[in-house]
Symmetry: C2
Subunit: 592 residues, 2 copies
Amino acid sequence: MSAADLMAVLLAEHLRYDFANPANPANDHLIFSKGHASPLLYSMYKAAGAITDAELLTFRAAGSRLEGHPTPRLPWVDVATGSLGFGLPVGAGIALTAKRLDHLPYRVWALCGDSELAEGSIWEAFELAGYEGLDNLTAILDVNRLGQRGETRHGWDIDAYARRLQAFGWHTVEIDGHDIEAIDAAFRQARRTQGQPIAIIARTVKGRGVKAVENVDGAHGKPVPDADEAIAELGGIGDLAVQVMPPQSASSPALAARAARGSTDGRTGQMFMPSYEPGESVATRTAFGEALVALGDLRPDVVALDGEVADSTKAQAFADKHPDRFFECYIAEQQMIATALGLQTRGWVPFASTFAAFLTRAYDFIRMAAISRANLKLVGSHAGVSIGQDGPSQMALEDLAALRAVHGSVLLYPCDANQTSALVAAMAEHEGISYLRTSRGNTPVIYRPDDEFHVGGSRIVRAGADDQVTIIGAGVTVHEAIKAADALAGQGISARVIDLYSIKPVDTGTLRLAADQTGRFVTVEDHWPEGGLGDAVLAAFGNGHQAPALTKLAVHTMPGSAHPDEQLREAGIDAKAIEAAATALIANVAVG
Amino acid sequence: MSAADLMAVLLAEHLRYDFANPANPANDHLIFSKGHASPLLYSMYKAAGAITDAELLTFRAAGSRLEGHPTPRLPWVDVATGSLGFGLPVGAGIALTAKRLDHLPYRVWALCGDSELAEGSIWEAFELAGYEGLDNLTAILDVNRLGQRGETRHGWDIDAYARRLQAFGWHTVEIDGHDIEAIDAAFRQARRTQGQPIAIIARTVKGRGVKAVENVDGAHGKPVPDADEAIAELGGIGDLAVQVMPPQSASSPALAARAARGSTDGRTGQMFMPSYEPGESVATRTAFGEALVALGDLRPDVVALDGEVADSTKAQAFADKHPDRFFECYIAEQQMIATALGLQTRGWVPFASTFAAFLTRAYDFIRMAAISRANLKLVGSHAGVSIGQDGPSQMALEDLAALRAVHGSVLLYPCDANQTSALVAAMAEHEGISYLRTSRGNTPVIYRPDDEFHVGGSRIVRAGADDQVTIIGAGVTVHEAIKAADALAGQGISARVIDLYSIKPVDTGTLRLAADQTGRFVTVEDHWPEGGLGDAVLAAFGNGHQAPALTKLAVHTMPGSAHPDEQLREAGIDAKAIEAAATALIANVAVG
């Protein structure tokens, strides 16, 4: 209700949107960063004729598209909102896409609450937009003073916001958010301002128009006490229809070039990717960088983002070859993900990389990406204790657990360069959220360039008819598993080795067969024991399928600094530890 | 090297620190927010006589306290750093603790890199400190222009930082970071400035003093090319000793009152906590709020923080009763955790609450809290699909997976009010990171006030000699499990029901016994299938202990809005689904 006047003027006069064709590339983008104002958004859709009164009344009912907070089940919604501080950053990402790649004149309008201005992610977006001069982005700050619990830090001190935004390079306009003429003038100014993003900082009244709740603390998120009275106060039942102006048609050379992509689609298979000679020693992060370059050569829609560590993640190779499609996001992981989400709403295929440990900084954004049905490729380098000396703050040891619990995610963890190459190609083809975990140190190339790897696959590295145990690793632990199998062979024990490079989805068939044939599993992972590879293996069982006897090797104690080999030994995930676990399991000794 | 001059002056003239007694409450706090400058920090310890040359040379070696990035294995380090954007927020938390609770004159000095100023979390801290006027906090911005990969957004434009900080209410001083007199004057000003935090914005040169790397891009995190030459350039081998001035002794009534805590320690058991009559209907979030008030009554060291949703998490009850120990953190979850960490470095016992879904925003900070060996109590409300209509953005469905993978964490998930009361008391006594997952809706009180619950425990809700299956739930699903057991009894099937309220550590003994006695498990959780209760149950097996036949019920499809009962049914985690899973399991039907 505090933002109703603002949105009424926007819808009637300034939004350029073709509701009949949400895919029109020239459409503006309207993002309710304050997703809890969804009734207002849905009312706008109703006024625009996009939904009916009957549908509007399904608000929050089972099966309705009109959820408590907006999601892309509605074709006019770019990303789900409802986690405050998320919508504006994505809006900045879309605005940047317009400037850098689409070269289209659409505008982004982001409605923000004042409470969410406390989120650091919002300031990452303000910084990006101010620095890049995104004059196609308008942030509409609905400063109604009252958060969910009491007054915000700055209350109605809209100057406090203006000062901050100006310092961040924004043009600001301060208005009474219920003065229709002032609102209209502000939007006109927004469309006119060049070289700077604009913030319309509107002093508004929460619950405006209904005395029982107007400017009343404690009424957040609750129905009005008397609906009939409220309707009467608001002027009775109406049937407002607004003719929303469609955008002028516009053409984009970049989009035209990208549209030619269809013809190269099939070429993104492994055969056009970089290949490596077995026996070479190459870090999977290096192979990722080289694969990304090749993908960029093949596909004009592939773009890359990095959190100011491209020299480490090796996304630098892409930045060098395809600078026009590379986005330096600086040390602002939330905005990096938000920019990637903005890019994918416009059909670009983003790979976003940083140290795997620092992706945790953006975990909520990745959660929201899943609700947004996003096409997002994540790459985390420097995973696990095997990075060595830098210490635990730099080691991702929870990334598999966290990202495995993202709805619909795919988790890939290669152990050699050829496999990395194939999996990067597979990620590009996969629609949805996927994650590639790369390693810091060099590992031997053990696969041939034409070996095939795919989402949901695994690789039997060795197997025999007399296997007494199956060792399952991924990434760096595959190499330890192979060494352990060699050592076990010396003891007369035949061990199967499975490279479970697809942690999610997991290759249920291969694992079940191995369980039937060998009866015993040793899983080994460079990760905490919870939620990673070992748990992924167990997910292949249950629901009527008996799990094998299993020993899970993982990192149990907080590491410090040490050489990579020392780290693997100390954590008990090296070849020796695997060998010991396998022999204990075969001897049927309980170890925990 | 860029910050060496800054730190030399700080150590010699302005830091007040008793290195012989790091626990001295009057000590200043020195935080290297740019943790990768650890060699400088350790050199300061060496110069101060806190460590020897011999130890200094163990830098990054296995077993050394001198890790690649600082951790509290060193007694002078408050929190681990190395994830950029983390140290300054904690520093702001410590400074706030000094003002609000300790009432001690210690100062906080935080050395920040310029790259990390891109992190939103830094701006949450700037906002907090500016708004609260934390004049005991000095941020030393080492603006050396070069990040790990190339130049930062603002390079040497130190005015850009000054404008932003001034807008956030900070006093700023811009200096040449290699001008000793200017540095000294700035620190003097920092100690004099009242009512505002101060930022010393220092233009510095990366690699200062060694020509081969001075102001050279691409030299980040690498050894100098020629160590002997570098030593010669820097003036040869020296043996600098600095007499660091200890703080003046100071007394704190609040700390004196808290010290009396010893006598009340035993009283924080269940018996002094709120109790509920079996049969009442109470939300566990409500019971949490009431338990927190009782804890606050009993223990002067307990403090509460909330992310502007205290009316929903019910921390509001504590805010009403103990306003002096309540911290409104607004919608800035990273700073909320950082403030909690600041509080616990000073011996306070913080409970930080928000919607469980929004704790994901601070996941990296929680990861860093574990490396920091912190004593931190987290409370997440509105978990799971059972919240109902608000939709997926508000539903925590990955919190158990993410937080279970935090090193050393404890995860508690109560199903009734008496249990909540007991577990909140247990959390207060537990040292380390613990997490309480509460539910939105009312649930029946099924336990008696004197029933005992503890970290690592479980509760057998029903059991018989002929149990053919064990149903394991926690929180809302316990009640569904009981209903399912009733229905199964009607079919002549006897089912054991375990309330696995301690998800981590898990009650291995009870689960193994149930596996031996009933042979079949149905686990049921209001969470994605990955990494939650089902996986926690499986963690009791393996390592030589055979897992039972198991069916895991969890949320598999993205929910929308619906009534809580509809949500449970739709997700397949209600009593009917449990009953069906149990009968299928007993009939030995594979279902997936």
